[in-house]
């Protein structure tokens, strides 16, 4: 009986403490940020809430956030029609600061509700920042904050990033979700590798590989366009891959889903062309070491369908020639991409990681990022591509 009393006593004193109301925050009281844009501060006054000691590689950052307005976010297809179109579901707020967290504090100062980053889907970084000061100081904030998803998108924007926050695409009422949709679908269609934030971090940390990020631009205030991929070295953006180079990159790194339609000249009829769309790809990378130096062989197999042909030459007899031509062109494209990245000294293919994994003894003699960059810049590549044309659509000729 005594034990029961003890138990009852402890319960009365402790259980009211344990009901867990500290973190209760109604959804209406959250300042849910869906998208963030990071721009450099040009000339304007930089507000500085965290004290004068706040310093980072950049002079200052301008954060532009898309805050969801509770009740106006269409939750499902049924609710899409509610609310007049003039009522925007998001509110765009911006603040400046010496560091990202400093700017974030400034943002909080303007928002009545507590900033909540658990739904942050996209972080856009102005290319100017990515080029000059790099994104090391930007990503630390993201890494430290427990609310940030590893599956969020970190995107480099050509031109001002805050424009993308204000863009009002017609297809989706929430601009950020449209941008997310654009990126997600590009991955699904095989137009872009799945380069989310967590992937960027893993690759950035690795000594033998350099990260890539999606590269977008905003046009006419409304259209968000995927420009390709931004290549990094040492945390700085060093260049960009256009969509065709992105296709070559994906061919070389064994990304199964293929989605680009690429035009090749029609054999024997240089005035006309065929467009081939990849369906499936496989590739293997082999690194050879002959005691003196390294060389790389990339073998890829691409399965394609014929999507369009111009001119009158029937396609059925020309299939082997088209395949040959496409194979050669693709191999050439790959080599050109390699040349380009070697110019940047950015090993986006992860050849260094391959060497580290397969030949640890050799890697011991390299072991630093800088040394590997030097080796990569002059690494001989050989590309071997085999294109298989499988189908030609509903047309027989």
């Amino acid at each position: 009986m005594k034990a029961v009393w003890w138990l009852a006593l402890t319960m009365t004193f402790t259980f009211p403490l344990l009901t867990g109301c500290w973190d209760r925050l109604e959804i209406e009281d959250r300042g849910t940020i869906l998208g963030l844009a990071v721009d450099p501060v040009l000339g304007e006054h930089i507000s500085n809430l965290s004290g004068p000691a706040a310093k980072s590689d950049a002079r200052g950052y301008k954060l532009t956030a898309q805050v969801a307005i509770p009740g106006r976010i269409p939750l499902g297809p049924g609710e899409g029609g509610t609310g007049s179109p003039s009522e925007k579901p998001v509110w765009v707020v911006s603040a400046t600061g010496k560091t990202i967290q400093d700017a974030m504090n400034g943002l909080q100062q303007q928002l009545a509700d507590k900033v909540f980053l658990g739904h942050l889907r996209v972080i856009l970084v102005n290319q100017q920042l990515a080029n000059t000061v790099g994104i090391v100081d930007i990503q630390d904030f993201l890494r430290r904050n427990a609310e940030i998803r590893r599956l969020a998108w970190l995107v480099v924007s050509k031109g001002a990033a805050d424009k993308a926050m204000e863009a009002a695409p017609k297809l989706e009422r929430v601009p950020t979700l449209y941008l997310v949709g654009t990126l997600d679908h590009a991955v699904q269609m095989g137009k872009m590798p799945n380069l989310f934030l967590g992937n960027y971090w893993s690759v950035y940390s690795a000594k033998g590989q350099e990260p890539l990020l999606p590269y977008v631009s905003v046009r006419d205030g409304d259209v968000i366009r995927i420009e390709g991929l931004a290549a990094f070295r040492g945390g700085h953006m060093v260049g960009a891959l256009d969509p065709l180079e992105t296709a070559s990159y994906m061919e070389m790194t064994d990304q199964r889903r293929a989605g680009y339609g690429i035009a090749y000249p029609m054999p024997g009829d240089p005035e006309h062309s065929v467009i081939l769309r990849g369906t499936n790809r496989r590739s293997r990378t082999r690194v050879h070491h002959d005691g003196q130096r390294l060389s790389v062989d990339v073998y890829s197999r691409i399965e394609v369908n014929i999507e369009e042909k111009t001119g009158t030459r029937p396609v059925d007899t020309a299939i082997p020639q088209i395949a040959d031509e496409a194979s050669q062109a693709a191999a050439q494209g790959q080599l050109e991409l390699v040349k380009k990245t070697q110019g940047w000294k950015a090993d986006i293919f992860g050849i260094g990681e391959y060497v580290r994994g397969r030949d640890p003894e050799l890697w011991k003699t390299i072991s630093t990022r800088e040394k590997w960059e030097e080796i990569y810049a002059t690494l001989p590549f050989r590309t071997h591509v085999k294109v298989y044309i499988r189908r030609s659509g509903m047309s027989a000729r």
Binding site: A3, W6, L7, T10, T14, L17, L18, G20, W22, D23, G118, R143, A146, R149, R150, L151, G198, N199, W201, S202, Y204, S205, A206, K207, G350, E353, Y354, R356, G357, R358, P360, E361, K364
Partner: protein, 378 residues
């Protein structure tokens, strides 16, 4: 002392398997990989083997003294005074171990989920749960652990399966780094650190005398440690394949980040980490429960209590105070690492010592018997 036979061999397996999965699973990939690079998964395998060896020693002793717990036969083997000293050390050790685990649990919760909840409250909840549950007898203790076994294992396996999408084989290479790249002492240290996470297998020492069929304890202990060990090895392999060694060193809790990286494809749940954390609490509870239970049982034996229940609540303020001691998160991990390694001498060394004494004693007894038998035949 006759003990009620109430534990099946399957219960022992599951109890061990559940009790060795604790808070440690969140941080151990970082700690081991920063020591042993890609050789770390291999050291986890070594650690499983070490723990199995330790388990075998316990089983052997348990079979030799089928009706006695580890604490009881220790008294016979080394005497009550020395046994009491060792036992007191074990009690203190597991008490601090459970305190460190509750603190680590509190840190994870306060950093990633309940940011405004004061950490003492989080710690108090788990300590209270453990204390109330530890009032049960050994039979109920094993039943509680057995019951939670699927809840502890299933989510971790789901996370592993879903994160495979982002896995890269190149990150795992070189597979056998332990044998050429990593300094030997780092391999040993890393193995030791993982082995230290398996120390709750000591519960076998107090459960075996309660078994229906103690002769099956060997298999149970081995399979139990194997199950838990397999989960550890699986987790470190998948974390390594997703993050790679360099990124791993940046992540405070790689397993939690793994849960953040895993996404249900085309499902209404986009983030799995809150769910993983919610279920992970169960694993934490089970591990702390086992450690605390061991500690309380040890103390009650030292103090010659008839029933361990009186001590349960007395241990609570102790655990609570010990959990407050580390000043920050870096400190916490330094202390946890050191404490785990020091404890290995106790949790492995002590049974081994007992085993040796047992061997010498039984040899001695046999030697005494033999000449007498020779004498009667001549």
């Amino acid at each position: 002392m006759n003990k009620p036979k109430s534990v099946t061999s399957l219960q022992l397996t599951f109890s061990i398997g559940t009790s060795i999965i604790g808070v440690g699973i969140l941080a151990f990939p970082r700690i081991t990989i920063s020591l042993a690079d890609t050789g770390a998964p291999m050291t986890a395998v070594f650690a499983v083997l070490c723990a199995m060896l330790g388990g075998l020693v316990l089983v052997h002793l348990g079979l030799a003294y089928q009706d006695e717990t580890l604490f009881e036969y220790a008294d016979h083997l080394v005497g009550r005074i020395l046994g009491g000293v060792f036992l007191f050390a074990i009690g203190v050790y597991f008490l601090e171990l459970s305190a460190l685990a509750t603190r680590e649990f509190g840190e994870v919760v306060v950093t990633s989920v309940l940011q405004r909840t004061p950490i003492p409250v989080t710690v108090l909840v788990i300590v209270l749960l453990v204390v109330v549950a530890s009032r049960n007898d050994v039979a109920k203790f094993t039943r509680i652990l057995t019951f939670y076994m699927p809840i502890v294992y299933f989510p971790a396996l789901v996370i592993v399966a879903l994160s495979l999408k982002n896995a890269k084989v190149a990150n795992l290479m070189p597979l056998l780094a332990t044998f050429h790249d990593v300094p030997f002492q780092n391999t040993v240290l890393s193995t030791g650190i993982v082995t230290a996470l398996f120390q709750n297998f000591m519960i076998a020492g107090i459960v075996i005398p309660f078994m229906y069929q103690p002769q099956r304890a060997k298999k149970s202990v081995l399979v139990g440690i194997g199950l838990g060990g397999a989960l550890y090895v699986l987790l470190i392999y998948s974390a390594l394949s997703v993050f790679g060694t360099e990124e791993m060193k940046n992540l405070l809790w790689p397993t939690l980040e793994l849960a953040k990286t895993a996404a249900m494809p085309t499902f209404f749940l986009e983030r799995l980490d809150p769910i993983f954390l919610a279920v992970w609490v169960t694993a934490v509870f089970c591990a702390i429960y086992a450690a605390y239970y061991l500690s309380i049982q040890a103390f009650s034996h030292v103090l010659r209590f008839q029933d361990h229940r009186a001590l349960c609540f007395m241990g609570m303020p102790l655990v609570f105070t010990l959990a407050r001691l580390p000043s920050n998160i870096v400190d916490l991990y330094t202390v946890t690492k050191m404490w785990g390694l020091i404890g290995l001498t106790l949790t492995f060394g002590y049974p081994l010592l007992l085993f040796l004494i047992h061997l010498v004693k039984s040899r001695h007894v046999a030697a005494k018997k033999r000449p007498r038998r020779v004498g009667t035949t001549s």
